[in-house]
Amino acid sequence: MSRLISIPGILFAAFAGLAVQPAVAETPSQVLASVESAAKAAPGFKGFSAVRGEQFFTTTHGNDWSCTSCHTDNPAAAGKHAKTNKVIQPLAPSANPERLTDPAKVAKWFKRNCNDVLGRVCTPQEQGDVLSFLLATQK
């Protein structure tokens, strides 16, 4: 009996897994580690800070938008695109397990959003601080 129930369950899990699996699947800590190895290249690197990341996340940097304009000040909550109202799923992996599992997607959105918010790319230090903040945020 239990076998009969578990087989479709396994099939479903496998199928659902395939649907969300990015091209190169990683864990959020692997993504953070590769940002860290880039950050270490800068002289005087002293590690990442979730507190600094939160500060960076919630303040503006010369342009109209901050990260919170679309993502709210709670990374575990869903946000809304400031211009189009399109719902944006939570950034914190605690609330959205798909987040920070695809390094190419993380890099793509850092590039785009840093350009919008800062008018430049973010340094590995800034990226690592923000990632640490996102990882530290609990649901």
Partner: protein, 173 residues
């Protein structure tokens, strides 16, 4: 009696005008390439087979606008300017950009004959005519649930699937 004659003559004239207008409207309908001064959306606006990359990338920030809503040249221009896409950086890899541009261009409006290529769907003649004051009260546009004329889904619940049928329209209150 002469009065009566005059009256029926007037009626006939009105009927003739109405028929004439109806006939010319029907003719215009047949010549879709001339409709809206040549700025007409395609039919269908959405192909039966869509592209996964197009949906995934374009629908990150807004609905994936159906390719038939704009002519091919508009899509080429939009896709060439993604670094400043309506004020946001929406850049893609070269390969992604090519795949999505190809999809948009192949399925762009097939009823567009004007030498124009607007950068926005709201800038097209067909859009303006379909959404002018006679069709939509100005107050609707000010509704926070609408927010922007780019927010098709506010009134067209099936916009995401390229369905803008009139009987499906639901104006938010």
């Amino acid at each position: 009696m002469p009065k009566c004659k005059h009256k029926s003559g007037g009626v006939l004239a009105v009927v003739a005008i109405v028929l004439g207008v109806a006939a010319s409207a029907a003719q215009a309908d047949d010549r879709h390439d001339r409709k809206y001064g040549g700025e007409n959306r395609g039919k269908p606006v959405q192909p039966a087979q869509t592209n996964a990359k197009w949906r995934q990338e374009c629908a990150s920030c807004h609905i994936a606008y159906a390719p038939g809503l704009l002519p091919a040249e508009s899509w080429r221009k939009v896709m060439a300017g993604l670094d400043k896409h309506f004020g946001s950086d929406a850049t893609l890899t070269t390969q992604e950009n090519k795949e999505i541009t190809d999809f948009l261009v192949i399925h762009a409006s097939n009823r567009w004959s004007a030498p124009t290529a607007p950068l926005t769907i709201t800038g097209t003649a067909w859009f303006k005519r379909k959404h002018d004051d006679g069709e939509i009260a100005p107050a609707i546009w000010k509704n926070p649930l609408v927010k922007s004329p780019a927010n098709c889904g506010a009134c067209h619940p099936q916009a995401e699937n390229g369905d803008f049928e009139e009987h499906d329209i639901r104006m938010p209150r």
